[in-house]
Each structure stands twice: as structure tokens, then as C-alpha cells.
């Protein structure tokens, strides 16, 4: 459901313990003759021939175990999905059921021993890890109805070349990336005149970080203990986007070459300096995970004006805000209506090209954000690949994705759904198309970027609260050195022990 940086320690611990029981990685072409089968032929532009996996004939009377994410189950979407599927495929006796497992469970651990699900819904970095050990089957996506509706950039996240043949490993459903949440009722009353220079009906602080910075200053000056934009800085998922906007990247060659780590590439130090300036207008909570956890209630009680997080937690913010309004004496219905009206989720503001947040009327560049694509994949240990394929096709149809959008507020990867839904869904979709969503690399080595980058970002945030003489990052050279150190640590983590 959520992004990598958030997984509970427990899940991390156990996933880590076992990741090697079956998980594989590497280039997968040292197996000798084994791979020279039918798979090597390429069939024009229609993708590889997968007829040895998918006979095209539906298995009869089988049960497919589907691993879904917790939010989909909680909000009742998953039940609707399997009910609809089971009805449609009743004549074949195909039944889809909940795999009843942890949403983060690792197929590489369970699959080979027969305990895994048949169809899995997980994030691209997780799913693509299964490819090296061939724990999931490639999918003949060109034959699917959704193929043309899903943008190239989303497919890219699931594409892998093996022995010269390009395979698609999963079908994208949902795009996740950072969004700005703010309270409309906390805007200054005169925002339409004082805070809307370009008179487009959107407050300036929502449009660019410089006005957000100014507004944060103003809110802090007005009332002690009150803040503007707040966000825990250590979170790589949200903070790294600032580096990317000024030329940084994760891995080279379009996120596929782990030997080239690019957190310090280009002018990424400017992104770090933006983060530092933002931290100065927050409290110490930005150093650890305090703000991440308390944003829900602090936004609701008006302490914070805005924060950045993923779209799937919209309901949590809404719930808190309704409670807050109810505490002020409103009845539930009125509170809900008002909360829905005042809680706004929108795209993130633009950055100044100069990286100076106090500059007036700066030249603006878009803020890139890290993102992920969640999708359906088919386990290679399933007994019924054709039925699974039918399920994936069913679950990615227009109706089902639309329904998913309505119930969960996700941003769909299907363009037709995004268009018809409008709003946030369309915004994220647009952003993805424009290349301003930097998808998490779909290589195993991505596991190593989190701790080094996270240490740097919390050190950076801490710097805003160090005494003047003790500051570690008070000039660009020091920022550059800090970022170079991150690159080095990631490189070390990946390569020191791997030398074959």
C-alpha cells in the first residue's frame, strides 16, 4: 500500500532475513542451454511468444489466491473485485480468493516452497526483484485490453530484457507519488487579492515554494507554535525529489546501472539547500519521523498548514479533520462536508531555479517527485497461469480500475480512467507523462539507497537546529561533499562485498 521508506521495522526485519532463501538477482544469462527455448524468438512488435506458459485455454475448477494491498481490502474494493470476477467466470469454475497473507510478503521466500499467492499486487521495485529468479511469469501485455491505455513510462517500470528478448512482467494499475495536502480554511482571508499575483484562482503558496516559504514565515510570526509547510525530512521518498529537480538521479542509464549513483549529480546540492531552508521554518520534529506520524492530527487541529505525502492516505487526513470539526461542535454530516471542502490534495508547488526560497518573483522549475507504480503480476508457481491472466485482465479493465479509483482515491495508470476521473488522478497521470515522476528503480540494488540517503537527510534537517558555530552544511561545498558521501556509501553497500 505504502512506499518503501514506511514499511514497519518488523516487515523489514523478516523480509531481510529471508530475502535470500529464494530471491535472486543478476543478469540471468549464465544458465547455459536452459534458456535457449522458444523464448528467444521475437515476434515483430507484438512481444515475445509466451505460448509455452499460457496455452490460451482456461483451467477449469481452480482457485486463484490473490494478494492485494490492505487498503483495498479494508475499503471493500477487493471484495467487489473478486465477487465480480467470480460471477463472470463462474461457468469455468474459476474462483478468486484472498491469499490472506501479509501485503509485503516476499514471493521469492514463499513461492518455491508452495506457499505463495497466484496473483500479486505490489510495487514495481518489489515485483521486479522477483524477475531475476524468474519467480513471476512474463505477461503477454500486448494482448491485453489495457495495453494502449497505459502510458509508456508506466510500462517501462515493468520491462526487463532477458537474453535479448524484452518482457513485461506486470500490469500497472496505480501510480504513487508525493502530493501536497493543505487546509483551504487556513489560507489568509484576503488570499485572492494578496496571495494570487497571477490571478488564476490558485493561491501562490500552492503554486511555488517561495510563496509557501513566505507564508510559513508569516504563520510562524503570527502565532508561536503554528507552522506552514511541514514534512519529516529523513524520508527519502519525498526529500530525494528536490535533488532530482536540480539534476540528481538514483542510478545511471535511466535507473538501471547501479554502478553509477547520482544523488550528487548535476546541481543536486541546490535541492539540498532548499530542504535546509524549509527545515529552518519547521520544528525539530522534521529530524525524525515525528511530523510524518503527527501530520494527520496536526493538520486537523490547524498547527500545520500543509504537508506532502502520497494520495492513498487522503482518507486518514479526512477522518482526523472530521473529528476536529466535530470537536468544535458540528454534527457529523456538516463536519464531513466541510472537511471534504477544506482538505485539498493537489500537485506539489514549483521550485525556484536559483534554489533561493527568499527570492522574489523567481524563475520556476517543476519539482520532480519520487514515485512508484503498483501493479498485478502472476506467480511462476501457479498451477493455473491462464486463469491468472484472465484475472489480471479483468482487474485492469476500465470498470474495475474506475471503481478502484472511486473507492481508494488512487491515481490510475490507465489514461481513460484518469481523464474521466479528472482531478488528482489526472494531475498525477500528467506528471508521469511529463517525466516529473521519477519512478523507483526496478533493480534489486535499490534496497541499498535508503539508509545512506536517510542518514544524510536527517543530518541536513538537524543542521537547521545546530548552533551557528557547529553547522555542518552552511555552504554549497559542504552540501556537495555530503551528497558525494551518500553516493559513496550506497556504492560501498552495493559493491564492497560483491566482488566475485
Amino acid at each position: 500500500m505504502r512506499r518503501k521508506g514506511y514499511r514497519f521495522l518488523a516487515a523489514l526485519l523478516c523480509a531481510g532475513l529471508l530475502a535470500g532463501c529464494g530471491a535472486g538477482s543478476g543478469d540471468g544469462n549464465d544458465g547455459g542451454g536452459a534458456q535457449d527455448g522458444q523464448n528467444t524468438q521475437t515476434d515483430g512488435g507484438d512481444g515475445p511468444d509466451l505460448s509455452n506458459i499460457y496455452s490460451g485455454e482456461l483451467e477449469q475448477n481452480v482457485t486463484i489466491r490473490v494478494l492485494e494491498n490492505d487498503t483495498a481490502i479494508e475499503q471493500g474494493y477487493f471484495q467487489e473485485l473478486i465477487d465480480a470476477f467470480n460471477e463472470a467466470y463462474a461457468e469455468y469454475g474459476i474462483v478468486a480468493v484472498d491469499a490472506n497473507m501479509d501485503q509485503y510478503s516476499n514471493l521469492a521466500d514463499d513461492g518455491p516452497y508452495g506457499y505463495g499467492p497466484d496473483v500479486l499486487y505490489q510495487a514495481n521495485d518489489v515485483l521486479m526483484k522477483y524477475v531475476d529468479g524468474k519467480h513471476i511469469y512474463p505477461i503477454p501485455v500486448q494482448e491485453l485490453e489495457c495495453y494502449s491505455q497505459i502510458p509508456e513510462r508506466a510500462w517501462e517500470a515493468y520491462r526487463r530484457e532477458i537474453d535479448g528478448v524484452t518482457y513485461h512482467m506486470a500490469v500497472p494499475v496505480n501510480v504513487q507519488t508525493g502530493m501536497l495536502y493543505y487546509r483551504k480554511d487556513l489560507l489568509p482571508e484576503d488570499w485572492e487579492t494578496a496571495w494570487d499575483d497571477n490571478a488564476n484562482g490558485i493561491p501562490d503558496m500552492i503554486e511555488n515554494w517561495n510563496d509557501m516559504y513566505r507564508f510559513s514565515q508569516q504563520r510562524m510570526a503570527e502565532n508561536e507554535g503554528q507552522f506552514g509547510y511541514m514534512r519529516s525530512m529523513y524520508d527519502v521518498y519525498f526529500s530525494s525529489g528536490f535533488l532530482f529537480s536540480y539534476g540528481g538521479y538514483v542510478f545511471g542509464s535511466n535507473n538501471t546501472d547501479p554502478s553509477d549513483v547520482g544523488f550528487s549529480a548535476g546541481d543536486s546540492w541546490m535541492g539540498a539547500s532548499v530542504l535546509l531552508q524549509q527545515s529552518e521554518l519547521m520544528n525539530e520534529g522534521c529530524i525524525d519521523d515525528t511530523i510524518t506520524v503527527n501530520a494527520y492530527s496536526k493538520l486537523a487541529d490547524g498547527t500545520y498548514f500543509a504537508t506532502m505525502t502520497t494520495p492513498d492516505v487522503y482518507t486518514l487526513f479526512l477522518k482526523e479533520l472530521i473529528l476536529a470539526y466535530q470537536a468544535q461542535g458540528m454534527d457529523e454530516e456538516a463536519a464531513r462536508a466541510l472537511a471534504e471542502e477544506n482538505l485539498v490534495m493537489t500537485q506539489v508547488p514549483m521550485l525556484p531555479a536559483s534554489a533561493d526560497l527568499s527570492e522574489e518573483n523567481p524563475e520556476l522549475i517543476p519539482l520532480k517527485t519520487m514515485g512508484g507504480v503498483n501493479g498485478y503480476a502472476i506467480s511462476a508457481y501457479t498451477k493455473a497461469p491462464n486463469a491468472c491472466l484472465a484475472f489480471v485482465e479483468f482487474a485492469t479493465s476500465y470498470e474495475m480500475v474506475m471503481r478502484r479509483c472511486e473507492l481508494l482515491g488512487i491515481a490510475p495508470a490507465r489514461s481513460d480512467v484518469a481523464e474521466n476521473r479528472g482531478g488528482t488522478s489526472e494531475m498525477i497521470y500528467q506528471k508521469l507523462e511529463e517525466g516529473n515522476v521519477v519512478l523507483m528503480p526496478s533493480v534489486t540494488e535499490v534496497d541499498q539507497i535508503w539508509t545512506p540517503a536517510q542518514s544524510f537527510f536527517s543530518d541536513l534537517a538537524k543542521d537547521a537546529f545546530r548552533e551557528p558555530g557547529e553547522k555542518k552544511y552552511d555552504d554549497p561545498e559542504k552540501l556537495k561533499a555530503g551528497l558525494a558521501q551518500v553516493d559513496q556509501q550506497i556504492h560501498d553497500a552495493i559493491f564492497t562485498l560483491s566482488g566475485q
Binding site: 514497519f8 516487515a11 523478516c14 529471508l18 532463501c21 501479509d102 521466500d109 514463499d110 506520524v293 503527527n294
Partner: protein, 278 residues
Amino acid sequence: MKSRKTLRFMDSVVTHMILIAVCFIFLFPCLWLILASFSKSGSIYSFDGFFPSEYSFDTFRMLFTDTEMYNYPRWFRNTLFIATMSCLIGTFLVILTAYTMSRFKFRGRKAIMKTTLVLGMFPSFMGMIAVYIIMTQFGLINKMWGLILIYSSGAPMGYLTQKGFFDTIPGSIDEAARIDGATNFQVFLKINLPISMPIIVYTALTSFVFPWSDFILPKLLLKEKDLYTVAVGLMSLGETEFARFAAGSVFIAVPIVILYFCLMRFLVDGMTAGAVKG
């Protein structure tokens, strides 16, 4: 005489003051957790300082009624079953092992003692991979008995504490009994077991508490949500479910506290020391 009395009084006062301080240190975080579980808002950040601003029983009610996603009663039953069985089997094995290691001098005994000591030093998570594969090969994944098997068979590794206890019980009574023609088994059952209550209680408590709060093994071996234990279940809670987390944590402590009060009697006056020595 009088100064002696004041001295004793002072001693008592100081003792009680230290005790109160200690109890406060232990109580406070627990109290915090308990009150947090009664928080109305569910989020810890709406607290005034340490404690919630408003209280209600909602979280506890939710914990036991809202079981669609988080089936706490079921986790609780699973945990209770696993911990009870592991405790019974584990205690039995540990006490027997410790007794044997203390009373019998046989070939390889010192070697076993050294080996077990050394084995405990191997970083345990490295062996988890092996444990997982063993369980897949025996078909014991998603089986509560598999977990019980591991807990109880690992228990004898910690026999050294209990052996230390048996080492302090004089062998003279054993000898007397053996002269009367009792077998070793009878000596253990009729003579040593009754006077070992404190250590049995201690062993039972520890071997109950470990499976009760462990989450690595159940996470590793129980894949299905229906089989989750409380520890695994609590760790799978969403990030805004703090009150539920607190309520679940508080409730998980209840059986142990009850167990403690039931067994307290044995722990304290399990043995009248003077009767045996002499």
C-alpha cells in the same frame, strides 16, 4: 536500644523510598501505555504532554469487535495456544535436562555443558534461514505445532540457570531415598520436584513469555493472517492505529500478570530452606 530502633525505622523509610522510586520507574511507561489505550482520539499526538486529553473505551471495544482487518481475538487465541503448549513442554524439558545435568555425572557431560554455552553465542538470526528451510521440508509452515516444536526444543538450551539451582540442593536426601530403594526417576519425581517450585515457576514464566512476545519466528513460519500471533498482528497495524496498538499491547500483558499472581505463592515460599539443610 533506642538508637537501634530509630536506625531500623530509618532503614525502613529509605527502603520504602527506594522501592517507591523503582516502582514508579517501572510503572510509569506501563501506565502511559495503558492510558494511551484509553485515548479517545486514537492518535498519540493529541495528548497533553504524556497523557491523552480525553478517554473512552472505544479502542478496546473496537479491538474485539472490529475484526474484519485486524482480528485481535483470533490472534490472541493463537498466541495463547502456542505459548501455553510451548510453556508446558518447554518447562518440562528444561527442568528435566537441568536436573540431569546437575545430578548425573556421565561421560560427555562437561562437553555438553560447554557446547550449549558456546552454541548460545551464535548470532541467532543467521540460523533463521536454516530453520525456515527445515520447516518447509517438514511441511510445518502455517502450522502452529511447528512453532511449538521449535520453541520447546530450543528451550533446553537455557538449562544452565536451572542447573545452578539444582546444584544448590544438597544431594543428601537423594542418597537417603536411593538407599530406601527408589529409582532415579522416583527420586526426581517425589523428592526434588516438590522443593524446586521457585525455579519451575521461573522457568514456566520465561518459557511462556518468550513465545508470547516473540514475533520473528511466527512472522517467518505463519504466513496466513488467520494464524497470526498478537505480536505479528500488532506489527502489521497501520501507522495511524496507535490507540489500537496500545490497547492490544496492554491486553497482551494481562495473562502474564495473572499468571504471575497465580504463581507468586510458589515463587516466594516454594521451599523452606532450613528444613533440608542441616
